[in-house]
């Protein structure tokens, strides 16, 4: 029962493997199967929500903390699948494989958040990463410029490099403590806290997850991968893996031994660099996905703001913020996937007059972007506000002021997209048709974004309890 959602994902992946063997594929059938399996996974994670067990020789822990993330991952998966129902960017012949890797990647992420042992953790991470590496070049190549290949290669090379850092750090941890179990590592590291190697090891491991989260200076892959991958793939890459990265970042930041001031200073610098770099470069983008990519770098900087408080309420806020971030971004990618006619990338001008062509998508886009920009009462505002409050409580006044300025800069590029959708003339761009499931998904997303923002206390209280169980 405890690992029901993982089973559901595995079953889903195997089902698509079987489907990939069939010669006659019906696009609609494939996508409906995917959405159905996604919903099944969500239900499974609801069922196993309150479980609390340790399995596989203590390598795999199912507790409040992991189940919170699993719930968010599976819910996000449902919306990603709904957003990418048409899968315009992927050729029909490889769609079953595509879905198989998508489910496998989610499986990797789910086991990642449950892993409490370094080897298990590494295997889970690679399962999720390698599935992603394969999904990127699966894009249909109509233009013949093969950008997806470039993106795929970049992704895998940078990814492997980051993994290398992380493995190196893990080897140090093992060498210092003689164990791979996180529960044993924490006290053991405290004993060797005076050695710089201990600190170095943890930072190396952290950098692997900084890569996933796309924090400056490990962000290089983001713009090219976002642009090169198909819209649906980007919608996945940009959202759900961040949940896994944040879950593990929290686990490892807790671990840091000895003088934490160096780490805090490091994170302050990285946070500021990410925010300024992401926001300033996003200002001049014309490709919507690239812009969202840079905005993602800025948001990653905000997440560091919560982590560097080094206390439970900061971590809880981060959990809340990243959950909200996933839904805000999926809202934007739902629009991108549906507005794109043939699976091609969208320039901002392609959204011109969207409110005339498809009011519902325009509304969803506005809600998603305003939420990302941090306008109340959406979830982005509440998350940003709580992160700032938490950092200020720790006395980082200058950091908070600079972060607030960044929130101001960010408004401009989000607004320029909203402006295109609401004020520009559509010209000869065609109307956008959406199906019933997408409509339902859009309404659900809008409700989630607004309700999570207006009533955050339950979620934060829950995240607080969850994070205290692992501290």
């Amino acid at each position: 029962m405890a690992i029901l959602p993982e089973f559901a994902l595995l079953t889903g992946a195997l089902a698509f493997f079987a489907l990939s063997l069939s010669k006659k594929l019906d696009a609609k059938q494939v996508s409906n199967t995917a959405v159905f399996l996604g919903i099944v996974t969500f239900i499974c994670s609801l069922i196993s929500f309150n479980q609390n067990v340790t399995v596989f020789n203590g390598c795999y822990q199912v507790d409040l903390y992991s189940q919170f993330f699993k719930l968010m991952i599976s819910l996000g998966l449902v919306f990603v699948l709904i957003a990418g129902q048409n899968l315009k960017g992927i050729d029909i012949s490889v769609r079953p494989e595509y879905y198989m890797f998508l489910f496998l990647s989610c499986l990797g992420l789910m086991s990642l958040v449950s892993s409490v042992e370094l080897i298990t953790l590494f295997v889970s991470l690679e399962l999720s990463s390698f599935s992603l590496y394969l999904m990127v070049p699966m894009r249909d190549d109509r233009t013949g410029v093969r950008v997806q290949m470039e993106a795929g290669i970049k992704y895998i090379l940078f990814g492997v490099l980051a993994t290398g850092f992380m493995l190196y750090g893990m080897s140090y941890i093992f060498g210092l403590t003689g164990t791979t179990y996180i529960n044993d590592i924490v006290p053991a590291l405290k004993q060797v806290a005076s050695q710089p190697a201990a600190f170095f090891a943890v930072v190396m491991v952290l950098s692997g997850f900084f890569f996933k989260l796309a924090i400056f200076p490990l962000h290089f892959w983001v713009p090219d991968v976002y642009q090169g991958a198909s819209n649906e793939t980007t919608g996945f890459v940009a959202t759900i893996p961040k949940l896994g990265a944040v879950a593990l970042l929290i686990r490892f930041v807790i671990m840091v031994p000895g003088d934490t001031q160096i780490l805090v200073n490091l994170m302050i610098v990285l946070a500021l660099c990410s925010m300024f770099y992401g926001n300033l470069i996003a200002l001049v983008q014309t490709d919507v996905k690239r812009m969202l990519g840079y905005s993602g770098i800025a948001h990653a900087g905000f997440i560091l703001l919560g982590l560097l408080t080094l206390n439970a309420s900061g971590y809880a806020t981060v959990m809340y913020y990243i959950s909200g971030y996933v839904f805000m971004n999926i809202a934007c990618y739902t629009v991108i996937s549906n507005v794109s006619v043939d699976g091609e990338n969208l320039a901002i001008s392609d959204l011109n007059g969207l409110y005339k062509r498809q009011p519902m998508m325009a509304f969803l886009l506005a809600i998603g972007l305003f939420a990302l920009a941090g306008i109340p009462p959406m979830v982005g505002f509440m998350g940003e506000f709580l992160l700032l409050a938490g950092a200020l409580k720790q006395g980082y006044l200058i950091l908070v002021i600079l972060a607030a300025i960044n929130a101001g800069i960010a408004i401009y590029y989000y607004l320029s997209v909203v402006k295109a959708a609401f004020t520009a003339d559509p010209g000869d761009r065609a109307d956008v048709e959406i199906n019933g499931v997408t409509k339902f998904g859009s309404v659900a997303l809008v409700l989630i974004i607004i309700l999570m923002g207006a009533f955050p206390s339950k979620i934060i209280a829950f995240a607080d309890t969850a994070v205290k169980t692992i501290m």
């Binding site: 009011p359 109340p376 408004i411």
Partner: protein, 505 residues
């Protein structure tokens, strides 16, 4: 906390805040244009009628927050849902509820495309306007303050004039940029007090540096909203491009949020900084009055003219606030309402001409008075009111403010006088051109006089022009206790600080 609040049985304020929201949600499901108009009119009228209860139940003898409601919202951070009105906010709440049905009526034919969405935006707008004036928790205030940008942005961006993109973005960015630091100031205050409840933050012993920094953060946000010279440049653009109802809401209610913020937050939260910086702000107000007057004199676009006149009129309001005496502050609150009534009505009048001639140029509509006697009557009245003709509402407000300014500093008051003269000059110039024109007027015989609907929505403005102008006492009674309480606390604060300084020496 409870000692400051007076509870009533029925959650009247919550009703006023969320009733339009419920109405807006209904518009999602029924999309007929006619239905949308009637439904929104019904919602806003009910809202206006219900809000009258605020008047009947309001106790004028206490400075406490009345009709209060307090619920826990985010207990981890001590953020609460607290609402209440006092003398400072009650008139502004009533202004926002009473003006909305008139805005709906004014958009009846003016808005031809996407009527449902337009009405939706109006209702959402009302939620944030009423919410902002009754919020007593700083985060709740901030939520309404920021949220309001979205419907207003859409009102300008979707239904606006030819340069709507520029105007709407400028409006949004200006306001947002100003309020970023407001948020930091709110957080800093929270860390000092451990509470977001606004009265908890007042009259606390903060260090002077802290006060000055907080004051500047507040002031930047509010001065952009007012807007004070030299931060006013978004206003003409936004006014010119916004549809009539948008201009009316912008002029009548949104600008008041800035001055409301100064009264509600700047003075009681950072009293020392207020005393320290008031002289600069007063002269900035004078600059705004004179600058607004001269610029208005040079405009040929009627909306621009009224927009610049707003800069001048709001300069009077900030002048009244920062002379920090009873006459000045009461005058500025009355003047906030006056400006809402008069300028709102003037924008409606411009909208009426625009609907007929499709231009806002003075020269195009020149000499229309002959064919539109009803219109001429109303326009004449509102123009007189705008430059403070005795017997109209603005006279009372400006008189009180100038009296307060004389009490404070004669030079200051004298410097403001040219503003009043300029107001007469630009308003009479507009009136003369529009109604009489020159012998070579364009042929205006095709112009139709006001319809019954148009008279219906202009008449209430005229009533208030005379009511406040001839019998302002009931309005002053409403605000008097709260204002004197605020100023008494301010001056006793000053004395305490003075004594402390003497003791230290």
């Amino acid at each position: 906390m409870d000692s400051l609040l007076i509870n009533e049985g029925f959650p009247l304020l919550s009703f006023l805040v969320f009733f339009p929201l419920a109405g807006a949600v209904v518009l999602f499901f029924f999309s007929g244009e006619k239905f949308a108009r009637l439904w929104t009119l019904a919602i806003t009228i009910i809202e206006a009628i219900v809000s009258i209860q605020l008047l009947t139940g309001f106790d004028q003898a206490t400075p406490k927050y009345q009709f209060a409601e307090a619920y826990s919202w985010i207990p981890q951070w001590n953020i609460n849902y607290i609402l209440g009105v006092d003398g400072i906010s009650i008139l502004l709440v009533l202004l926002s509820t009473l003006i909305m049905p008139l805005c709906v009526l004014a958009s009846w034919k003016y808005i031809k495309t996407r009527v449902t969405q337009f009405m939706f935006c109006l209702l959402i707008m009302q939620v944030s306007m009423v919410g902002l004036f009754v919020a007593l928790d700083f985060i709740l205030f901030w939520v309404f303050w920021e949220f309001m940008l979205i419907p207003m942005y859409l009102l300008i961006a979707v239904w606006g004039g030819p340069r709507k993109e520029y105007a709407s973005i400028k409006f949004f960015i200006y306001t947002m940029a100003g309020s970023v630091f407001l948020l930091v100031a709110i957080l800093a205050l929270y860390l000092k007090n451990g509470s977001f409840f606004i009265p908890d933050m007042m009259w606390q012993n903060y260090s002077t540096t802290f006060q000055v920094l907080v004051f500047l953060a507040f002031f930047l946000a509010f001065a952009i909203k007012v807007p004070m010279f030299p931060l006013h440049t978004w206003l003409p653009a936004a006014h010119v491009e916004a549809p009539t109802a948008g201009s009316v809401i912008l002029a009548s209610v949104l600008l008041k949020m800035g001055t409301y913020g100064m009264l509600r937050f700047c003075i009681p939260i950072t009293p020392d900084a207020t005393f320290m910086l008031a002289p600069y702000i007063l002269w900035l107000s004078i600059a705004g009055i004179i600058y607004g007057g001269f610029t208005a004199l040079a405009q040929s676009d009627m909306k621009k003219l009224i927009a610049y006149s707003s800069v001048g009129h709001m300069g009077f309001v900030t002048l009244g606030i920062f002379v920090l005496n009873t006459r000045g502050v009461e005058g500025s609150i009355i003047q906030m309402i006056n400006h809402g009534v008069t300028t709102g009505a003037l924008f409606l009048c411009v909208g009426l001409i625009y609907e007929r001639t499709h231009s806002r140029e003075l020269s195009v509509a020149q000499g229309c008075g002959k064919f539109m006697p009803w219109y001429a009557t109303f326009l004449g009245l509102f123009c007189l009111s705008s430059f403070g003709f005795p017997g109209t509402n603005s006279f009372i407000g400006e008189f009180l403010i100038l009296a307060g300014a004389f009490e404070f500093n004669k030079g200051l008051a004298l410097a403001a006088i040219p503003g009043a003269v300029l107001a007469a000059a630009y308003m009479l110039r507009m009136l003369q051109k529009l109604l009489y024109g020159t012998p070579d007027n364009p042929d205006q015989s095709h112009l139709k006089d006001l319809s019954f609907r148009e008279i219906v929505y202009l008449a209430p403005f005229a009533v208030f022009v005379f009511w406040i102008g001839l019998g302002p006492q009931p309005f002053i009674d409403l605000i008097h206790v709260s204002v004197t309480n605020l100023l008494d606390q301010l001056h006793s604060w000053q004395q305490v600080q003075g004594v402390a300084q003497v003791l230290l020496q």
